[in-house]
């Protein structure tokens, strides 16, 4: 069974067969197949809930990618106020972020170097990592989909505060996600995944 919870998301992955589906004009069609996600020890799962800046959210989708240091999940979150956002999660670190339109014209992926400072909506961000992360697969409901095996050109940026950004150079117009690193405790999670010897 595939449920579209959010009214605006266009994509969903079937829990049972990992078919990737697109919804257009009330029609649902299959556009591919997601590989099985890798067990990465995450304490989150579809249906986990939390709150960021006092706005409750529920996790409804996930993209799993593999970086050089391990797995990274972008959890797609539906906020109680109708906003949609992402929660980057890896090895116990959490990065609440939102796709953001930026005024500036961004440098090309090839031109960016670690240490470069670039302005995003007027604020300087520093490039801390640049790599092509391999997409493992997707689950749940998503605003866009990434095919398994695709190598996503991603640039990570930090600032002098916990505010950071990720730029996804997959499309002609790069997608910018700006957010901040948040402590686990501050996110007030519920409905977490069971972890043996800890839960």
């Amino acid at each position: 069974m595939v449920t579209f919870v959010a009214q605006t998301t266009g994509y969903a992955v079937c829990d049972a067969c990992q078919s990737m589906l697109v919804r257009q004009n009330m029609e649902v069609s299959r556009i591919g197949q997601s590989a099985a996600l890798q067990e990465d020890g995450t304490p989150l799962m579809l249906g986990s809930a939390g709150a960021y800046q006092k706005v409750p959210f529920e996790i409804i989708g996930r993209i799993q990618v593999q970086y050089s240091f391990g797995f990274w999940n972008e959890w797609f979150c539906l906020y109680a106020n109708g906003n949609q956002g992402w929660l980057g999660e890896s090895q116990g670190n959490y990065f609440a972020n939102f796709q953001t339109q930026v005024a500036e014209r961004l440098p090309a992926f090839e031109d960016l170097r670690r240490g470069n400072n670039i302005p995003l909506n007027g604020r300087l961000f520093c490039v801390t990592q640049k790599q092509k992360a391999q997409v493992i697969g997707c689950e749940g409901e998503l605003p866009f989909i990434m095919h398994s095996g695709y190598k996503a050109p991603l640039v990570d940026l930090k600032t002098e505060t916990v505010v950071g950004a990720t730029i996804d150079y997959s499309e002609d117009t790069p997608l910018v996600f700006i957010g901040e690193t948040v402590d686990f405790d501050a996110l007030g999670f519920s409905n977490l995944r069971e972890i043996e010897a800890w839960s």
Binding site: M45, I60, R114
Partner: protein, 453 residues
């Protein structure tokens, strides 16, 4: 909740037998472990590989027992953490090896923490997600050898060196290898140490906070004895405190003592040397009085001669002489008092002062007496004052002459200063020597400070 969705299966602890020696191993960080090193035979295995393929086998000549055993759980700063890995890293500075221990701590919800130990000094370390700011802005590459500012904390560069892994057991979330080399940079702002670790494609910043062994041993409920702390750690809080604060307190105290002394000087009488009361009779022919002898001792000082009188609606002029009884040298001076009181338009008014004082400077020790020759009148005072018909006052009044030497209070002040001053000085010296010992081990030893600053 999303209707109809089954919860994800639990995260399981992986168990295996060491591929080399058969010892049972638990992978405590589950799927997040990349490498597991058998504590018994030092064999390193790929924790992500279903068959736990052997990566390398070293015979680590000396075995090191982690002070916090792998598998121990404890609470540190409110976080429940399990020790899952132990490694030793070494830097070589001017031909000398310095080795410290790193304990990898894990909580599946909160991720990884570190405990580092060097010569019995411990730091609790967390990864940073903000960038420090150096002289050239945010430090994304090439950590500088100057001070950097991390989230408002100014951290001075302490040391940059290449660290190599010289021992490791347990599990790690990256591909640890023996002799793996990374350039590390330390910046200190006690009790914090900010560290940058360079790898091929990233700089990882972390912030350590000095913790006492007692806190750790309590947190992990360890029964063993912690190693004694030796020397001074880069981020060890100066036990003598910041001498600047001490100096500030000294300054405040001295200022307070100064104000109190000033207060006493201004409002409290000095030491009385002599006092005598006289009566003034207008009709007495010889009004001049000579006092008994009195002694003024000690160093030359200012002598204050006070007159307090009971005159009413009249003035008095006291011609006085302070006479040395041995040499008969005299210092002449005059004092005048006047006091008028009346009622005008239903309102009471007063004018003048019944009391007066005069100071004779630099009086050497010796025996003295005073000669006092008063004159007094009603209307025509020596000054220009001309009261509007005050009823003339009585022609008899009393007056008291008192002699004080000032002196002592400032002595007390200087005594206080003299007693207190050594404290901040000694503290400063000891504190500076502590800082010296701290910075002796750094890339910026104190001797070269003058040329650098």
């Amino acid at each position: 909740m999303i209707p109809g969705r089954k919860p994800a299966p639990p995260v399981k602890v992986k168990s295996l037998q060491c591929r080399a020696c058969g010892a049972p191993i638990e992978i405590r960080s589950g799927p997040r472990a990349q490498v597991i090193v058998c504590a018994y035979c030092d064999t390193s295995m790929d924790a992500q590989d279903p068959t736990f393929k052997i990566l390398w086998q070293y015979q680590q000549q000396i075995k090191f027992e982690p002070l916090i055993p792998i598998g121990a759980r404890g609470t540190l700063r409110g976080e429940l953490l399990e020790c899952i890995g132990y490694m030793r890293r070494t830097v070589t500075v001017e031909g000398i090896d310095y080795t410290w221990s790193e304990y990898l701590l894990y909580n599946p919800f909160k991720g990884y923490r570190w405990l580092t130990e060097f010569s019995g000094h411990w730091s609790f370390v967390k990864e940073c997600f903000a960038l420090p700011v150096g002289p050239n802005g945010m430090v994304g590459v090439n950590p500088p050898d100057t001070a950097v500012n991390y989230m408002g904390l100014s951290c001075k560069h302490f040391q940059s060196a290449e660290a190599r892994v010289t021992y490791c057991i347990g599990e790690f979330y990256w591909h640890v290898e023996k002799n793996q080399r990374n350039r590390v940079h330390d910046y200190v702002s006690p009790p914090y140490v900010l560290s940058a670790e360079e790898s091929a494609d990233e700089i990882t910043w972390s912030l350590g906070e000095y913790v006492t062994a007692k806190e750790l041993w309590d947190g992990f409920k360890l029964k063993t004895a912690p190693p004694a702390a030796v020397g001074v750690a880069p981020n060890q809080p100066n036990p003598l405190g910041n001498s600047r604060i001490l100096w500030r307190n000294f300054g405040l105290f001295t200022a307070l003592a100064f104000l109190i002394t000033l207060f006493f000087t201004m409002f409290c009488p000095s030491r009385e040397v002599f006092s005598k009361s006289f009566q003034y009779y207008a009709n007495e022919k010889e009004k001049a009085q000579v006092t008994e002898n009195f002694k003024i001792t000690g160093r030359p000082c200012n002598v204050e001669i006070d007159i307090s009188s009971s005159l009413y609606n009249r003035w008095a002029m006291f011609n006085m002489a302070l006479i040395n009884a041995d040499t008969f040298t005299a210092v002449d001076f005059g004092q005048e008092v006047s006091y008028y009181h009346g009622v005008e338009g239903g309102e009471s008014w007063t004018e003048g002062d019944r009391n007066s004082s005069a100071v004779v400077g630099q009086v050497s020790s010796g025996t003295y007496f005073l000669r006092v020759d008063p004159e007094s009148g009603t209307g025509n005072s020596p000054d220009t004052f001309n009261p509007q018909n005050p009823a003339p006052g009585p022609e008899v009044f009393s007056y008291t002459v008192k002699v004080y030497r000032d002196v002592t209070q400032w002595l007390y002040f200087w005594l206080v200063v003299g007693v207190l001053l050594p404290l901040p000085i000694i503290q400063s010296i000891r504190s500076a020597s502590f800082e010296n010992r701290r910075w002796m081990e750094s890339d910026h030893p104190p001797v070269s400070n003058s040329s650098e600053d």
